[in-house]
């Protein structure tokens, strides 16, 4: 199934870099450079996802977003912003963006976000048990089993594992964890998330077992049932 992405970005370099990278990643990409064209295409283009820059000529990103949402379009929107300030990011989300990225971002971070947004609808499905190979999480009784062995998790560790399991085989970045679990929109200086993950890893992946939580270099983590 081809997945179509609309890029609305006025900076030619960024536009080119995104188009090339996402095309190589297997997406069908269309790119425009101003907000007005962006809005027209978004309305009748049948895209699966829209990457929308915050500052655009003719019609700025927030207005495009507002118009889309008012017109009843629920297409996932990933906002790009050069404004790192927390309140600025929060405002984007409040206006109906599904996610945002602060420029400059790494391409891995971007693809991780895109994958997360594209698969979102399936997450809404009512699931009672999450499974990844021999790891099972019962969402009702909140019990976690690895190869039949019960794993005792702190509340935060449980949330973190659930976050990873719901995004099985997809990269989860440190920022996504910070935002998703703590609702923090800043980069801590130290490697807090790594330490949280390694704590979780010690409980989930016993030394003798096949490791399920993988580190994806330069990007983040992935709970994987492959390989």
């Amino acid at each position: 199934m081809t997945r179509r992405i609309l890029i609305v970005e006025d900076d030619a370099d960024t536009r080119g870099f995104l188009t090339k990278g996402l095309t190589e990643a297997g997406f069908v990409v269309q790119a425009v450079e101003d907000g007005r064209d962006g809005l027209y295409l978004a309305i009748d283009g049948g895209f699966d996802l829209i990457i929308l820059d915050r500052m655009l000529p003719k019609l700025d990103g927030l207005s495009v977003l507002k118009s889309l949402r008012v017109a009843g379009f629920a297409t996932p929107v990933l906002m790009l912003t050069a404004m790192s300030a927390v309140d600025e990011r929060v405002r984007g989300l409040r206006e109906g963006a599904d996610d945002y990225l602060v420029k400059p971002f790494s391409f891995d971070e971007l693809t991780a976000r895109i994958e997360a947004l594209l698969r979102r609808p399936q997450d809404q499905a009512e699931e009672r048990v999450l499974v990844c190979k021999d790891l099972e999480m019962d969402l009702i009784s909140r019990k976690v089993l690895r190869a039949g062995r019960s794993i005792d998790l702190q509340p935060r560790e449980y949330q973190m594992l659930e976050f990873l399991m719901r995004r099985k085989n997809r990269v989860v970045t440190r920022t996504m964890l910070l935002e998703g679990l703590w609702d923090y929109h800043f980069d801590p200086q130290t490697n807090v998330i790594d330490v949280h993950i390694s704590k979780l890893r010690r409980k989930v992946d016993a030394p003798t077992e096949h490791p399920l939580i993988r580190t994806i270099r330069g990007a983040g983590y992935m709970l994987s049932d492959e390989g």
């Binding site: 404004m83 790192s84 929060v90 704590k199």
Partner: protein, 455 residues
């Protein structure tokens, strides 16, 4: 000349002064003239009545003699008389002939007549009556008296106008000197400031007048500008200094990448190192932006009622695993009343404080996060048991780009505490560092009610 507002002010005040004087004089003239006229008529009418009585008692000859007597009286030079007989011939008087337009008894008339003692016609105001045997009597006053009266009045008026001009010029000059001296004080100070000397202040005379109040407001503004510029200068200097080293390193690395023969592994490592440099630079810029925004008061729009304890617990919980790795405990105690604040920014500020504490906390020690309530403030204090900061450096440590311990391997941006301080100020509070002996207390005080900052 007219572009000079001092001249304009003096001129305007003079014109107004002279105009007012002239108006007063004009009204005065009209009033005086009316009185003068009324008096003239009264005198003439009285004389007509008197002469008519003379005619009744003494007859036409007695009347003629009475008129002649009056004409001899030097005091009555303005007086005009004419008595004619039944046939219109002159019996007595100082007018050539009975003016044909005047019908006796028709009241008050004004006309040009030739006096017997003058070669020019004069303007005469007169009244006339008809006597018993159709003799006619005319009594009047010529305009010479009025002219004298007017001359005297105009002389006085001229003097008054000259005096008004002089006086208003003098007051205008004094007034403008008073105003313009104060204004040029202000303008001189402002010019000094524009030219770069930020220390100048407008002198205050202590009279408490409008100029003193204006000067005080301006001085407060200049104080603020000086502080802001000073702040900006330090920031820019430090920024330039702080960015130069990573940029220089980056440049060297780029050079190595392009010039040297590197193995694939070396190349990869080098690129990773460069990426780290760039990330560090970006972090620095992000932090700078956040500080500026907080200092500018942005983020107050997003204030909401919040619970500092839950924010604190969240931050503590985030760092707890990192802390326990280095065998440090994080303890949260106390509570805070609900207050108006920006939760995301406060979480960020708190995490900066905790990170800072973690950096210096020795193994086996405790980092305490204590919440307290005061009247209209809440405070959160992060205390570590590390080496602390020398007392002299306590205030300096909050400034931007100041990292007191240069030997540390993990580079901070040097902006952590500056951001905390800016966030505290955003909440109308402050950040205070004190020594804990051993260790450091970093206490953030926040106002419960967000008040409008007054200048």
């Amino acid at each position: 000349m007219l572009r000079n507002s001092k001249t304009r002010l003096i001129l305007a005040s003079s014109v107004l002064g002279v105009g007012a004087t002239a108006l007063v004089l004009m009204l005065f003239y009209w009033a005086a003239y009316a009185i003068f006229e009324a008096e003239t008529r009264e005198v003439v009418n009285a004389e007509l009545t008197g002469l008519a009585d003379d005619y009744q008692s003494l007859g036409i000859l007695g009347l003629a003699r009475a008129i002649e007597r009056r004409l001899e009286n030097a005091d009555e030079r303005d007086a005009v008389y004419l008595l004619t007989d039944t046939y219109g011939r002159t019996i007595a008087g100082n007018i050539e002939a009975w003016p044909p337009t005047v019908v006796p008894g028709s009241g008050w008339v004004e006309l040009e007549l030739f006096r017997t003692d003058g070669s020019q016609s004069v303007l005469v105001s007169a009244a006339s009556i008809s006597l018993q045997n159709n003799e006619r009597l005319l009594v009047g006053r010529d305009s010479a008296g009025r002219a004298r009266f007017e001359r005297a009045l105009f002389q006085a008026a001229g003097l008054a106008v000259v005096a008004a001009i002089v006086l208003s010029l003098v007051t205008g000059w004094l007034l403008s000197r008073l105003v313009f001296n104060r204004i040029s004080d202000i303008s001189r100070t402002a010019a000094d400031i524009v030219s770069g000397d930020l220390s100048g202040r407008v002198p205050i005379r202590g009279s408490g007048d409008e100029f003193d109040r204006l000067s005080a407001t301006l001085n407060a503004m200049f104080d603020r500008i000086e502080a802001l510029i000073g702040n900006l200068r330090t920031t820019t200097d430090s920024l330039a200094h702080d960015l130069r080293s990573p940029l220089t390193r980056l440049r060297t690395q780029v050079e190595r990448l392009t010039l040297e023969n590197l193995t694939e592994q070396e190349r990869h490592d080098l690129v990773l190192r460069m990426q780290n440099e760039v990330d560090h630079l970006l972090k620095t810029f992000t932090a700078m932006t956040e500080i500026s925004r907080a200092e500018a008061g942005l983020g107050r729009a997003d204030f909401e009622t919040m619970d500092l304890l839950s924010v604190t617990k969240g931050v503590g919980e985030l760092y707890e695993p990192v802390a326990s790795e280095s065998n440090v405990q994080i303890q949260t105690m106390g509570s805070a009343q609900p207050f108006q604040g920006n939760a995301p920014l406060l979480a960020q500020a708190l995490s900066n404080l905790v990170e800072n504490a973690l950096r210096y906390a020795p193994s086996g020690s405790v980092i305490k996060i204590t919440l307290r309530n005061a009247d209209d403030m809440v405070s959160v204090c992060v205390s570590d048991q590390g080496p602390g900061i020398p007392d002299d450096d306590l205030t300096r440590a909050i400034e931007r780009f100041v990292t007191l311990d240069d030997s540390r391997s993990d580079r901070g941006t040097g902006l952590g505490l500056a951001l905390v301080s800016a966030v505290a100020q955003l909440h109308h509070g402050d950040l205070r560092l004190t020594n804990n002996d051993p260790g450091l207390n970093a206490e953030m005080t926040l106002a419960v009610k967000s008040k409008v900052r007054k200048f």
